[in-house]
């Protein structure tokens, strides 16, 4: 089972966890991304996320299907926010349930690592004196 979403609404971590919890689950691994207040020593005021939504959803589904072929997990949730996020807010939640913890840990890490490489979502860091699209320029 796969629950993938791009949304401009707040992410509800408790609801995300409930969504993947099944009667035969033995554990749930959760990754919560949060907006950090600095990058390389520079104060970050806010982040702005944008997504190529139809493709981002497709790519997130591909990651989830890939995970099901690699690990014995039960349900996968990948929710990502768009829009303006302040320090401490949550841009991404990944939750994975499995009968046993090893698969849930491995799958969760694989999902966030792969999402950062393939899913068409972009983050702009806004500083007090300027802004940059992260990773866009060498």
């Amino acid at each position: 089972m796969i629950d993938v979403k791009i949304t401009s609404d707040n992410l509800d971590v408790t609801a995300c966890i409930s969504s993947v919890m099944l009667p035969h689950s033995g554990g749930i691994d959760v990754f919560i991304g949060t907006v950090r207040n600095e990058t390389k020593g520079k104060k970050v005021v806010r982040l702005e996320f944008e997504a190529y939504e139809p493709m981002a959803v497709k790519e997130m589904n591909k990651i989830a299907l890939d995970v099901f072929s690699k690990w014995p997990v039960q349900k996968i949730l990948i929710h990502h926010r768009t829009g303006v996020l302040e320090v401490g807010e949550i841009p991404v939640v990944i939750a994975v349930s499995a009968a046993h913890r090893a698969a849930a840990f491995d799958a969760c890490r694989y999902i966030i690592d792969t999402l950062k490489q393939t899913v068409p979502i972009w983050k702009k860091e806004v500083f007090e004196d300027g802004e940059i699209w992260v990773a866009a320029h060498p």
């Binding site: 190529y52 493709m55 983050k123 320029h137």
Partner: protein, 80 residues
């Protein structure tokens, strides 16, 4: 034919908007389109890299663009 090309993130700023229209001939592939765009928008050279997506899938260099395709330029992604 004219194709619309969606831009995101840093590409949107280089295009000066969400979408541009480019005249290309029949049979042009993704790699050809890359070269056409690099000529028309030289600032694309300043990006670390960019991918071309056709119909919301990453395209191979030899993927031919046909009329009605949804084409997008994908600068380095940075979600999460």
């Amino acid at each position: 034919m004219v194709v619309s090309i969606l831009g995101f993130g840093a590409v949107k700023e280089i295009f000066g908007g969400d979408v541009i229209a480019v005249e290309i001939s029949e049979g042009v592939a993704a790699d050809d389109l890359r070269n056409i765009l690099l000529l028309q928008y030289p600032r694309l050279n300043q990006l670390t890299s960019f991918m071309i997506a056709v119909n919301s899938e990453y395209a191979q260099g030899n993927t031919v663009i046909v009329s009605g395709d949804e084409v997008a330029l994908i600068p380095p992604v940075s979600g999460g």
